[in-house]
Every structure is written in structure tokens, then in C-alpha cells.
């Protein structure tokens, strides 16, 4: 063991090195020690109540007992893994990291690289408490090799159900006690581990970290990189005030509008419980993959920002995720919103949605590797991401309707049929299946094919009949009856559909081709592996957890929508809706039949 490295260990590890640095004399039981035990320790660290009480009886502090248990667990975990490892062997660091997470980490380690854990671990027999403390120090140093450990790693290593030590980089949180001079003396703080401004605080009793707790901005900055944009900020102070940006060291003259927006959206995400959960999860996945999440603005053809019924909307792709490279692109059009709060809330919903795709892909590739084929076509990927986006947008919403609150209404009103319809919306979705579909994927694809053909027919009919009919009606009511100012929004809607329907028709044709090919594949011997993957996934309760997680989010969304009540778009004053317009047309046809031919207006 390197003495200088030992000196670097923080105060809450002192128990690990108790043999070298006596902390205090062990004598009478410490008051409150027995009460500090939590049953979860038995599963997390193989630390039984009996062992705990016995150690309390010897005068050990709770944190000492826990630290020693962790040390011993890590050693035992690595030993167990050495015997069970098979197929691909992870590097030592991975083994140490996983073992440092306790039983859940060991379980993942075994599932990924070894024989799965069967049943409970051997009961603690007192061996844990008699583990050699120095061994733990050696192992920890091993984890720290190669530079400064990530906060997440340190956090996981040193957190337990009894006590969570808080590690900070830079300035401490207000009100957080900083390590005492005595702690620092004990710690030493080794140069090889220290980063400028690194502070380690210990002895702060806390509950286990919640996955929705606020994230340290430095953690976000470390794992999420915002790429420069191209639109210079004009009138910086005015924008800063309107977006509510808290100045960071005054003016930032080189920042672009895109960077500013992305930075504020990340801040906005932190205001939402679900947003924090998604942020934490995507950072965790990026960290595991040794990557950084990149955020950058993109130009998407045909984008426009329109206001309809008081709702400012981005028409065009909002954003997209390239999950393997952890790259998120958002539509530069968000910087054109007049209502900056709507832009922030909508883009926060989109960012959460796309980040969740990254989490879903990486998490499930890791946890359900044998279902890789089924996962590629699982609709719950998109369903879950939608729920995350809608939850975030609704949590952030302050009462004004936006696209996301509008879409939330559709999801909650449409129920299961919403997701069936989704399969007809894009070639990518057309091959997706619900878990229930996976039991008989062939039948499911045949249903989708039927739905797609009906959709295509409806789109063709709308383009061939509805669009020209509406144009004629609008033109007549504008020209003959002078209603032009009241029909602006309806006119825009017709022209928007007329422009988009040819694209939708092309996509429906593509979907039909894809699903037809998929049906043929599943009916051939070549489709056997895919068929088996679907059918096995449909039966496996572990796989079923994906759908269950989506359902929980959906229930949460419904409850939140009930509690907050979904804001409704406010009709633009003076603008008619379709119902009112149809009534006027019907009245005109009755009163002025000479204005209308058999199907057209004159």
C-alpha cells in the first residue's frame, strides 16, 4: 500500500484504515449505534442485525461498522466473481466498481459477466466484521488508479443506507459543513487524488440519495456538452432577463443563442422532478459508456414557428437522439419563439424525451442482452420516452397551453388506441410491437398492415377531396361573404395539410412495404430468430418490467393532469373554428343555394 495514497482517504474511510490509524479507543457501546441499523444493509452489504449489534457492543461507531462491512463485502464479492466469471471478463476496475455498489452491483456483475446469483448470499457469520481493513484500502486505491475518480463512483462507493457522505467539487452547497481541520489532517489529501477546489465532507447523516434530487451543476457540465451555435446573442442583458438566466460571472460575450437556450433548458429540466430523474439517468449511462452527451442545434428543412389558438408551436422535427453516440440535436427554430417560457418548457419536454431514448437503449442493452432483437422493435421505447417528455412538460407548466400539454390530452383521452394509432404514423413505428403483440407478432403485423392501408386510403381521400373542398368553401366565404380576417387559422391549417399530406402518403407507402416485408420474413425460416426473441420476451416477467415502467409513468401523468388540470388553448379572438365554419357554410347553402353547385361554390 502506498502510504501517501492511504493518507488521501477521507474521514469516512478512517474505519478502513483503523489498523494503521487508530481512530478512537474501542470500549463501551456508542449511544444510538443499535438504532442506526437499517434492514436494507443485510441485502446491500450482507450486514446482519446480529453482526451489527455485536459490533456496537464492542464500542464501534456505526460508520466504522458500515465501512468495514463494505470493505469485506467488496473483497468477498470479487472472490465470488473470480469463481463465477465466464465468457467475457470485464477489466478489474469494472469488477471493483460493481462490487463497491454492494449486492445490486454484484448482481449486475454476475448477470453481465458470470453465473447469475442464485438465492441469498451466505449469511454473515462474523467474517465480515473481522475482515482485514487494509485490504479495503488496497482495493480502493485500485479503483482510484488512473486519475481522479468520478463523483458518481465515489458517491456510490461511500454511500450506505445509514450515512451518505457528500462529495463536492468547487464551492460547497450553502450551509454544508466543510471538513474540519482535524478531518483534513487525518485525510491528508493526496496530491494525486486532489483536484483544485475538491472538498470532501463527511459525517452528514442523510437518507439514501433520491433519483430525483437536484443534480450538481458541475456534474451536468462534466457529462453534458453544449456545442456552439451560430446565432449571436443580441441584447444579451435583455435576453438574460427574459429567460431568467442567472449570470455566471457577468457577461458571456461569446455565447450564442443556441447555447444559451440549451443551457437554460438544462436548468429548466432541473426544475422538474421527472426532469432531474432523466438527467441523472442519462448522465449515469454516459458515464458508464465513458462518453459525454452532446447537445447541439440543427436546421431542419421546412421548420416554422406558428401561433394557433394562442399556442406557439414549432412545426418541424423538434429534436432527435443518436443513442449510441449520446448525441442530442434540437431544432434551431426553438430560438425563434417569441414566448421564451413556451420554448423552454417545450424543448425541456423534448430533451427529456430524447435523453430517455438514450437511457432506454443503453440500460436495456445491458440488462436484457438476450432480447436485443425484440428490443429493437419494442414500442415501449417510444411510449416511455413520450411519457417522460409529457411528464416533464406538465410538471413545468404554469397554466398556459403548449404543444406538449395538447399532446398529453390526446394520450390520456385516446388510451390504448393512441399507441395502436402510433404504429401508422411513421415507417419506424410501423414495425414496433407492444409486449402483448410479441406473443403472436405475425398477427400483430397483419393488423398493422390493415390499419396502414386504411390510413393511406384516408390520406389520399383527404388530399383529393377534403383539401379542394375546403379551399373552395374558404375561398367562397372569404370572397363573397368577406370573412377573410376570421378564417386565417383555418386557411393555414388547410394549406399546412395540403403541404404535408403528400409526405404522409409517401411514408404510409413506405410503412406498408416494410410491414409486408416483415410479415414475409416472419413466415420464412430466416425470421425464426426474430420470432423466437419476440415470443421469449412476451413470456419473460423481467422483460415485462419495461411495459410496467411505462404504465407507471402513464398513471403518474394521468394523476398529474387531474391535479394540475391540463391547460386548454385559448381561441384566437375573431377566428372561427371548423364547427362554426361548417355551420356558416350549411346556412349559406340553405339560404343561397345559387352560390353553390352540386359540390362546388360558384
Amino acid at each position: 500500500m502506498n502510504p501517501s495514497a492511504r493518507m488521501a482517504l477521507p474521514a469516512f474511510l478512517c474505519a478502513c484504515i483503523g489498523a494503521v490509524l487508530p481512530i478512537h479507543a474501542v470500549s463501551a457501546p456508542v449511544p444510538g449505534c443499535a438504532e442506526a441499523y437499517q434492514p436494507s444493509l443485510a441485502d446491500s452489504w450482507d450486514l446482519s442485525r446480529e453482526s451489527w449489534d455485536a459490533e456496537c457492543g464492542k464500542g464501534h461507531l456505526p460508520e466504522e461498522i458500515l465501512s468495514r462491512a463494505k470493505t469485506a463485502f467488496m473483497a468477498a464479492c470479487q472472490e465470488r466473481f473470480a469463481k463465477a466469471a465466464k465468457v467475457s471478463i470485464p477489466d478489474d476496475r469494472t469488477v471493483r466498481e460493481r462490487c463497491a455498489e454492494g449486492r445490486p452491483g454484484e448482481r449486475r456483475l454476475m448477470e453481465d459477466f458470470g453465473a447469475p446469483l442464485q438465492g441469498p448470499l451466505p449469511q454473515n457469520t462474523g467474517k465480515v466484521m473481522s475482515g482485514k481493513p487494509t485490504q479495503g484500502v488496497v482495493e480502493l486505491n485500485g479503483v482510484f488508479e488512473g486519475g481522479v475518480p468520478s463523483e458518481g463512483l465515489v458517491h456510490r462507493m461511500f454511500t450506505g443506507a445509514v450515512q451518505r457522505s457528500q462529495l463536492q467539487v468547487g464551492e460547497p452547497y450553502p450551509g454544508t459543513p466543510v471538513a474540519s481541520a482535524q478531518d483534513t489532517a487525518l485525510l491528508g489529501v493526496d496530491a494525486s487524488l486532489r483536484t483544485p477546489g475538491l472538498r470532501i465532507n463527511s459525517n452528514i447523516p442523510m437518507a439514501a440519495a433520491s433519483d430525483s434530487a437536484p443534480l450538481d451543476p458541475t456534474e451536468i457540465a462534466r457529462y453534458i456538452r453544449i456545442e456552439p451555435g451560430k446565432k449571436p446573442v443580441v441584447g444579451w442583458e435583455a435576453i438574460r432577463n427574459s429567460l431568467g438566466l442567472i449570470g455566471v460571472g457577468g457577461l458571456l460575450p461569446s455565447i450564442t443563442q443556441e447555447e444559451l437556450l440549451a443551457r437554460n433548458v438544462l436548468k429548466k429540466l432541473q426544475e422538474s422532478e421527472e426532469g432531474r430523474r432523466v438527467l441523472r439517468a442519462v448522465i449515469e449511462e454516459a458515464r458508464r459508456a465513458g462518453k459525454t452527451v452532446t447537445v447541439k442545434a440543427e436546421d431542419y428543412d421546412g421548420t416554422s414557428v406558428l401561433v394557433s389558438r394562442g399556442v406557439e408551436s414549432l412545426h418541424g422535427t423538434r429534436g432527435e437522439a443518436h443513442t449510441q453516440s449520446f448525441a442530442y440535436s434540437f431544432n434551431r427554430g426553438f430560438t425563434d419563439f417569441k414566448d421564451s417560457e413556451t420554448a423552454l418548457q417545450t424543448m425541456a419536454g423534448n430533451m427529456g424525451h430524447e435523453f430517455w431514448h438514450m437511457v432506454w437503449d443503453h440500460r436495456n442493452e445491458r440488462n436484457l442482452p438476450k432480447y436485443a432483437k425484440a428490443l429493437d422493435y419494442d414500442l415501449s421505447n417510444e411510449k416511455s420516452a413520450r411519457m417522460k417528455g409529457y411528464l416533464i412538460a406538465l410538471e413545468l407548466n404554469s397554466g398556459k397551453a403548449n404543444d406538449y400539454t395538447d399532446e398529453t390530452r390526446g394520450v390520456l383521452t385516446g388510451g390504448d388506441q393512441y399507441f395502436e394509432r402510433m404504429k401508422t404514423w411513421h415507417p419506424y413505428y410501423s414495425l414496433q410491437l407492444n409486449r402483448a403483440d410479441m406473443a403472436d407478432p405475425l398477427a400483430a403485423y397483419q393488423r398493422t398492415l390493415k390499419a396502414l392501408k386504411a390510413s393511406l386510403a384516408s390520406e389520399q381521400k383527404t388530399l383529393a377531396e377534403w383539401v379542394p373542398r375546403r379551399r373552395i368553401e374558404l375561398s367562397h366565404m372569404e370572397g363573397t361573404h368577406g370573412l377573410t380576417p376570421k378564417l386565417t387559422e383555418l386557411h393555414e391549417e388547410v394549406e399546412s395539410k395540403a403541404g404535408k399530406l403528400p409526405h404522409d402518403i409517401e411514408q404510409s407507402n413506405q410503412s406498408i412495404r416494410r410491414v409486408t416485408e416483415r410479415i414475409a420474413l416472419l413466415q420464412s425460416p430466416k425470421g425464426g430468430a426474430l420470432l423466437q426473441s419476440f415470443q421469449a420476451a412476451a413470456k419473460d416477467p423481467e422483460y415485462g418490467k419495461l411495459e410496467a415502467a411505462f404504465q407507471r409513468d402513464k398513471d403518474k401523468l394521468a394523476a398529474l393532469a387531474k391535479k394540475k388540470s391540463l391547460p386548454t388553448a385559448v381561441p384566437t379572438p375573431g377566428q372561427l373554428d371548423w364547427k362554426e365554419f361548417d355551420e356558416l357554410v350549411a346556412k349559406d347553402k340553405k339560404e343561397n343555394p345559387d352560390h353553390w353547385g352540386t359540390s362546388d361554390a360558384k
Partner: protein
Amino acid sequence: MRNSLLAAALLWTAATAGWAAPKEFPMPTRSESVSELFRCVVPEDWRSEAKPAPDRGIRYTDESMAIEVIRYGLKDSKYPTPERFLESLRTGGVKLDKAGAVLVSGQDGMSYRRQYKIGGGDGPVGRTEWIFEEYVVLPQKGSFWVLKFESPSPVHQSEPEGADLWRRFLKGFRLG
């Protein structure tokens, strides 16, 4: 799950002899009698799917339009009264319009309509659809039946696709 539902539907649904389809259906039809609870006529190629307890019923669909027949108000029903059922349709602020009385199975039912948008985003991936729904509520001995028609469309519709078929379905529907 789906298999068991379909099996239940097959057991529960049996074709009856002697029940003639109304002539005005524009496509081949089949007659259905559900546990002697109701009889109806649906397009021949529509699939049927049983709705599980507590509010049992059946959904007929061509994978685009759909007609459902569900009985509520019995023990453990999700909606013990028509009022509670109608309230559930207004979730999220969707407007529900009263569309007047309609004669179904020899009695006056009340019909309601709503139309709402689903999907969103008009980009390459985005798609918006309108779902038109009409409900007919028919009271019967401490319970009530809900007959529902749904029809999707790329645009808002004053007369939805399949409305004619729905009216014919109502004309041919018989309780008991």
C-alpha cells in the same frame, strides 16, 4: 393474455341463425349474438375482441374504425352510473357534445359526440390525427349499455368516415 381474451370472445360470441342483416349495409356482413345479451350486424371482415370483466363487452374493428358495445353499472363496474361514465369522457378538458336522442333497440338512447386530436409535431416524424367518437347510452335494468363508434382521420371531420355504417349498426342493434 390476448389469446385467452380471444378464446373468451369466441366462447362468448356465437353466430345465430335467423338474424338477418339489414339490407342497406354496403358490404358483406355477419350477424352476431352475444350471450343472448344483444344481437347486432357487423361487416364480415371486422375482427372482434372481448372486453374483460368487470365491464364486459366486445370491440369490433377493421383496425381503423371501431364499434364497441359495453355494459356498465353492474357489480364492481368502473362506472356505476351513466353520469360517471360521461364525466370520464370529459377528462383533460375534451368537449363532449350532446347529440340528441336516438332510437336504438326500440328505446330512446342519448347520444354524445366528441372529437379530439392525437399525436403531434408536424415534422417528418410527427403526425396529427383527429379521433371522432360517438356514444349512445342505453339504460337497462340497473345497468346501462354504451355503444361507441370511433373513426380516425387526418383532419377534423364534420361527417366522419364510417358514419353511415355506424347508423346502420345502430338500426340493427337489439338488446336481449
